[in-house]
Point group: C2
Chain length 446, copies 2
Amino acid sequence: MERTPSLDTLNKVGQEVRLKGWVRLVRDHGKVMFVDIRDYSGVVQVVFVAGMLSDEQVALIKGLHGEDVVEIIGTAQQRKPGTENADMPTGTVEVFGKELTVLQKAAELPFDMGGKDLNLELPTLLDNRSLTLRHPKVQAVFKVQEIIVDSFRNALKEKGFTEFIAPALVPLPTEGGAEVFKVNYFDKTVYLGQSPQFYKQIMVGVFERAFTVGKVYRAEPSVTTRHLTEYLSLDAEFGFIENYEEIMDMAEHVISRIFDDLNEKGAEYLKLYQASVPKFSKPIPRIKLSEAKEVIFNETGRDIRSEPDLDPQGERDIYAWAQKEYGSELIFVTHYPTVKRPFYTYPDPENPEETLSFDLIGRGVEWVTGGRRINEYGQLLESAKKWGNEPKDLEIYLQAFKYGMPPEGGFALGVERITMNVLGLKNVREASAFPRDMERVDIRLS
Amino acid sequence: MERTPSLDTLNKVGQEVRLKGWVRLVRDHGKVMFVDIRDYSGVVQVVFVAGMLSDEQVALIKGLHGEDVVEIIGTAQQRKPGTENADMPTGTVEVFGKELTVLQKAAELPFDMGGKDLNLELPTLLDNRSLTLRHPKVQAVFKVQEIIVDSFRNALKEKGFTEFIAPALVPLPTEGGAEVFKVNYFDKTVYLGQSPQFYKQIMVGVFERAFTVGKVYRAEPSVTTRHLTEYLSLDAEFGFIENYEEIMDMAEHVISRIFDDLNEKGAEYLKLYQASVPKFSKPIPRIKLSEAKEVIFNETGRDIRSEPDLDPQGERDIYAWAQKEYGSELIFVTHYPTVKRPFYTYPDPENPEETLSFDLIGRGVEWVTGGRRINEYGQLLESAKKWGNEPKDLEIYLQAFKYGMPPEGGFALGVERITMNVLGLKNVREASAFPRDMERVDIRLS
């Protein structure tokens, strides 16, 4: 008999099925035993009645515990009215178990995996990562993450973007020398890229509209709740913009599509976290940084008007204001000062001390960062030099501009951070299957 | 007026259009000038008639060269019968140009970019990568690559696989100490992963069916035509197999889907290389390594029967035989010796000196490698130790097996190598947008 994935029991009521999976949960009511079985398609409840089984089978079932790997033959049946479980996609059916085989016995679990929540401290959660990832609520994090990445990809493909593979090994620490990892490369040194920025700009010259999904690295020398040393960056860049607002329009298209897909395909996962995607007005409100600082002063009395940037409190304040003023949990803050942005950022022709750049603030933290870039070769070369770069070091990058580059811009988002913020996780490590930080690379570094 | 992507001119015959793009090619016939314009959607021909334009415009057009960034206003029209170009998707139309503006002037090109082929030596191709990537035949390589990756993803998603993000920074060189890059990680050392093998196996415990698309690194200390130090690996792994042939079935499903998608969506790119996807019989023929060596001896007289592996010539010989015998350009070679495969490979219960492993040989080279893995904790622990591993070093990996792992297996393919082999490229560097090797990371390392 073919194996039936647990979700398919919905279509096999009245039929014999063969399930295979992990024991998620055992509830032993003496004469009746319930065993929840987890497989790639979800979870289904199996009910065993002791009186209808051999003593050997009963002992086997009573001896089961979480993560045992089993095979079950039984009959799919409708659950009795009133016993349905609305929290499970298979909650209207169950399998009446006839025969159980243990394929692999799991070791005793070091903590309870059967509850709705895991309730573990972060070090325990990560020291036992290969186990804790199996908990449905932890699984949900990575289902949400998969939806976000797919959605980013689909939203851009439908706008004519081509996906390309950016390298992670780079010849120089291009975004400043600090916070970059060195790689021993034969008898030389190369670096782990902090962003695919240069490569996505080069690819504008190739495909005009390009994006890449790949790892970036930051040698963040402190352990915070929102930094990882290795994370997945979603990067888009496109040419022939007529104004820099188009870049925000494209970012809004992508974010909006991610939220739609999360609602459509991720509802069951969001529900586990009692989470919902941010509400926002269309278009998302846009405010210049200088005006945002005025607003914050007016609203809170806190004066950061002479600061070059928004501090974390400032991000929370402008979010609170956007909620109050527009009912929007997202707001674009634009025109960051030239001194705070990289050399390739396009200065505002109306005020060269400000740039045509933006951050998308979502629920009080930075979700997306982007802007227009300098596309004219001479201007870029001059800006690169002014910031202390050797043109020879930027040869491949500058080449793209030497041979014709239209007005262009783009944006980037970190997958783990978006996942964390959508689900309301307290630490970005929970949004990475195998988080790396200063102290941990799977195992604690000693 | 809205911009018209070049491909949309097909739907705008008789209408005024505004094109934006790069000059691909100028053919100046004196009174009539043809300018091919390239943008994200493709290429379209624009025709200018000198007598209908100002002297200034004529001078501007005659001064154009490849990669100039321009905007053109004109009228889309059907080409005259007999002047259609079947090689271009827009080959039945052209734009009658009225006005041209140069948005960015490109520097003089260092070589001809206008021909069907680039005809450059590899060092020149790579020294000028930001330019050479723009050539339609080079672009085609990365369009093909995009199709391969998407196709892998879609083929597995439809089988219930979940995509996850594997880390590239790893605590130990797990596949042997050689050929691994060291990363200076704060005051410690970590490594760049040579494969996501351990992580995809861990994820079988989580999602049962899992795949990942990500970078892997090999410190290959020689410069060959088929090795890169950084490449993109497509890795799949799944549980509850009933026999190890199912792993080859799944690999065949994926490969078959990739070929279908290449034929459907990539025909214009394959055509540029006069390439076609490999023919193969369904199912793809399967032969044990020991039998393959006998076949080679019988067919060629070359005796490699005492060798533990197939050498490159052996891969070509068995391919020639599969073509002759089955009309198939693909063949699975199975049952590699235990001594030649990693510690987690499943020994054949019928002959523990052989493993339930396979390589898919395509057109004489390895395309896919895979097999069944040891899923029983005790057996895996013993094998790991026997191969000289410290169990403590494998803690997170072994954990996945300690807490219940079904029979499982999987496979992996390198995107650049598949791209190279499908298109018949001579060097794998041509199949990487930004290839890294011992001597080059964008720039030549000195």
